[in-house]
Structure formats: C-alpha cells, structure tokens
C-alpha cells in the first residue's frame, strides 16, 4: 500500500527528528570561536551577578593609605588600586554589571522598536513603507554616536535608565531596514498567501507567520547590538556623558585616563579597555556563530 509506505520513506530520509534549536546548537557547538565567545559571556555574566561576593572590597571605598598614588596589581589588589585608593578589581566587577546591563537593556529597546517598525513598513508596503523608510534614511545619515551624545548632553540626565533609553531609541534604524527586507521577501510566499486566503487577519499573520520566520537575523543582530551598545556606553562615559562617577562603568574608569597620575600607571588604562574589547569580541563571536547556526544557507 503506497499510502502507508510513504511515512516510512520520509522517516528514513530525514533520520531521527531534530528540532530547529537542536540543529542550531549542533552547528553552533562545532564553531570554536562561537564557543569561546559564549564561555566568555557566561563568565562575565557570572562575574557581574556575583560581583559583591567576588570583590573583596567595596568598589567605592577609598583606602586612605593608598590615596594619591595608584598601586600596581598585587595579591591584595589583583588589578591594583586607582588614584583614589579604590580597589580596581572590585570596580571592574561592578563595572561589568553596569556595562552588561546597559548593553542588554538598550538592545531590548532598539530591537523592539526596530522589529515593530520594520515589520509594519514591510507588511503594509506602498506609501506607508516609502514614508517610513525615508525617515530611516534620514536617521542613518547621522553618525549615530554623535546623535546619542548630543541628546544625552542636552538632556543632562545621566541615570542609567536614561542612558539605556537614549542608546536604544537612537540605534534601531539599521535593524528596522533588516526586518523590513525579511518581511518583504516573506510576504509574497505561498504560506502567507494561504493564511490570508483562509481568513487570517493582519495581526495574526504578522505574529504567527511572519515573525517566527523573520526572527533568525533579529537574534543575530541583537547579539551584535549588545557589543555595540557597550562600546557606545564606554564612549559616552569616557566623555563624562554616561554613567557618572562614583558608580563604576568600564567607560568611566577611563575618564581620568589622560591625567598625569593615571598615565604613570598604565594598568589603570589597559584593564578597562581590555575588558571592553574582550566583551565586545565575545558577543561578536556568539553573534556570528548564531548566524551560521540559524541559517545553514549563509556563507561565511
């Protein structure tokens, strides 16, 4: 009987059932750089979460005996102490908290806005799309960092929440373009036409049919955005327009980098920068690993 034989044939061809997530993980775990990136991210997140346990000192506590001259790394202070006699290791740990928080929350903001904006433009097309995308063109004509910096400086509000919002709300246009392109190419596919024909409304089509199919590049962009946001935050904080001292962030640990005291203590400059570099690279490796894992067709 041909009908009963058919499922057997399919099973034989496909082998055991593998879900998309399992399949992606299999490809991801074969990529050494991606695994290194993921390990670094995990270590950083653990370090940030358990900062109060790992750091032996209060990050803001001044050691009166050490004030004035930075001390080089030692057993008591693995990263040394800064000009104000604060333990640099504790500051770096608590700085990881701030930097990762800002990177992550700003990413959530920009991904949400960018995805909704891009889906709407791509789904409705025509004049709506044209107007929405001209606005994106305008936004992309600014060097985005400078725009973020200007708004942040004029707002003159440096709470971490405001910084996250400003970074997130001004860095979504690139992503919306990506989502729009995805939606445009999906919109004409047969399964969307079938859904429309069977009476599904706009909302249902977008949420049930377009979204799950357009999500892979968004996940990749989200991972890369965390790294970019950490870079942006560090730049803002370096200029004094981001996280405010004494709260430590990797960027504002470099704020006094050009002071003569700090220039005589190279480790104070090297450590925060290396932490930013490592973190940004780790998120980039994970992001590129995800790109290869989620889209088997993509070539490196």
């Amino acid at each position: 009987m041909a009908v009963t034989a058919l499922p057997g044939v399919i099973d034989e061809d496909l082998g055991p059932h593998v879900s998309l997530a399992q399949d992606a993980w299999r490809r991801f775990s074969r990529n050494p750089l991606a695994l290194v990136g993921l390990s670094v991210v995990i270590i950083l997140v653990l370090g940030a979460v358990f900062a109060p346990l790992l750091g032996r000192y209060d990050p803001n506590a001044l050691d009166m005996k050490l004030i004035g001259t930075p001390t080089p790394p030692s057993l008591a202070h693995p990263f040394g102490t800064d000009v104000d006699g604060r333990d640099y290791f504790s500051r770096a740990l608590f700085g990881a908290r701030i930097s990762l928080e800002v990177g992550f929350v700003a990413m959530l903001v920009s991904i949400s806005v960018g995805t909704i904006y891009g889906s709407l433009a791509g789904f409705y097309g025509g004049a709506i799309d044209a107007v929405m995308m001209r606005f994106v063109d305008v936004m992309l004509s600014f060097p985005s960092f400078f725009l973020i910096l200007t708004v942040e400086a004029l707002t003159n509000q440096f709470s971490i929440l405001v910084i996250m919002l400003v970074i997130g709300l001004l860095s979504w246009p690139g992503l919306s373009r990506l989502v729009r392109a995805q939606v445009l190419s999906l919109r004409e596919r047969d399964f969307i036409v079938a859904a429309t024909a069977s009476g599904a409304g706009d909302g249902r089509i977008m949420l049930r049919h377009l979204f799950p199919n357009a999500i892979a590049p968004v996940i990749v962009a989200a991972t890369l955005a965390i790294g970019d946001n950490i870079l942006t935050e560090s730049g803002l904080s370096y200029l004094g327009l981001g996280v405010q001292i004494p709260t430590p962030s990797w960027g504002n640990m470099l704020q006094k980098a050009l002071d003569p005291d700090t220039l005589s203590a190279p480790w104070l400059i090297a450590i925060p920068g290396l932490l930013i570099l490592t973190t940004v690279l780790a998120f980039n490796f994970v992001g590129e690993g995800l790109r290869d894992a989620l889209d088997p067709r993509s070539k490196k």
């Binding site: 004509s141 600014f142 707002t155 200029l239 470099l254 920068g273 940004v280």
Partner: protein, 320 residues
Amino acid sequence: MTTFIARRLLGFIPLLLGISIVTYALISLAPGGAAGVLSGMSRQSTEADRKILLHNLGLDRPWYVQYFFWLKNLVVNHSLGTSYIDGRPVLTKIFEKVPVTLEVIGLAFACILLIAIPIAVYAAAHKNSLVDHLATLVAFIGYGAPTFWVGIMLLELFSVQLRWLPAGGLADIQSTHFDLGERVRHLILPVATLTLVGMASWMRYQRSAMIEVLSEDYIRTAAAKGLSRRTIIFKHALRNALLPVITLVGLFLPALLTGAYFVETIFTIPGMGYLALNAVFERDYPVIMGTTMLSAVFVALGNLLADVAYAVVDPRIRYD
C-alpha cells in the same frame, strides 16, 4: 552619469530637510534644553532678564517656529546663525575647523586603504598563514576596542613611556612658523589610531570578498591557461573583489568621523570634533545644528561617492 549625479544631488534636498528637522526637533525637545542656555548667565539676573534673553534668542517660541526661522535664515541669508557663546557666525567657525578634520580623516583613510588592501589580498591568497592570523588578530582588536582607548594606549606608549612622539596639538608650543616635519610628527598618533581601528572592518570585508572571488570558475580558467599567480590575483581577482568593498565607503565615513571626534579630543586637535563636542557641552544650539548638519552632508556625499565609484569600477553598472 552626469544626470545620475545631478539626480542624486537633487535628492539631497529632501534628505537634508529631513535631517535638519529631526536634528532641530531632537535638540529642542531634549528635556532641560533652554534652561541650560541660561545657566551661563550671572546669578544676579532677574526673571525679567531671563525672559528677554529667551525672547531675543527666539527660544520662547515652539520648536517648529524656531526651525522655520532657522531655515528661512539659511535660504535667504545663507547663514546658519551665530554662536551663543562668542557671537561669531556658525559657518565661519565651522569652516575654520573643517580643513584640520579633513586632513586627519583623509590621511587615515589613505593609510587604511594602503595597508588594509594589500594585507587582505595576501591573507586571502595565503589562508591560515602567519600573516593571515596576525591580520585577523589586528582586525579583532580594531573591531572590539573603543577608538578612544586605542588612542590613549598609543599615547601612553609612544608619548608618555617612550617619549618618541608629541602627545597632542598640531605643532610644538614654542614653534613660530609652520614646519612640515613637526606637523607630521604631531599627526602620526591620531592618524595611527584611526587607521588601526578603521583597518579592521576593511580588512575583514576585503579578505572575504577576495576569498569568494578566488573560488570562482574564471579564476580556475585563468590558472588553467597558464597565467602566473600574480596576474591572476591582481588582474583577475582583485578587480572583482574591490567591487563589493567600495560600497563600504559610504558606511565607513560616519564611523571615521565619529572616530575623528574622539581622536581630536584625546590629542587636542582643533578640528570639527573639538568644535562639536564643545558646542554640545556649552549648549551652543546654532553650532550644534551646524556641525550635525555638516556631518550628515558628509555622510550623504560619502554614499554618493560610493555609488559613483561603483559605476566607474564596474562598467556593467549603468545608472541612466
């Protein structure tokens, strides 16, 4: 081609209008805006004085009215207004600073191309060689490190520790006249910072474009008919591999400009970035508008340049 450029330049008008509206709205609507301008006033000034000042600056009107007057002034008088801080015309202030920034960016861009392309080509032709791995390492650093940190590290190493190069400015303090050697020594660190950071993305893209081209059939054909490896790489592969990378110029300029802002701050170079950052700190709205508009124009021109270069390199592309 001429019609294409003309059409694109015409397209700039709505784009720049959009940019100016967005900028004006953003800086006017940012909370704490006008109050900041007044913070520079002396403490004795009365409420009436403040009102008069706000009125004279036009800051008591809604932002779109202010924008309209800004635009009218630009169209009718070809003026971007005057600085709140020293009363000088914004355009004059900007054009004093532009050459310095263009010098830094131009030199960095030339260095990036001269260094990144040959290395990327070599790395692509010798995959997994020492050069390839070293290039990847440098690219990673440039990719993940903040520009300002790279600048500070170079300054720390070559200026503070080794004392080889000056730490900032464009000339020695005691110098009385322009000296080319002096200028070059002062520009090495800033340009090196931008080059190191900018090289990263350029090298990565160029390398992967080159690797892709090298696996094409026509490369195998060229090898089969006995052409030397040199001819294949430079005449057959590189020309085609440059193509996708050229579009990068447009994306690249904003990053380079942002980098220049940091570099000018660190190495105290009196350029656009220096002017723009000071304007932001001093809430000098007309100057902020001017510098933001100029950087947007710069980016738009970069995109146009990329499209034109694209057509020049690839004769198959016709815009008209």
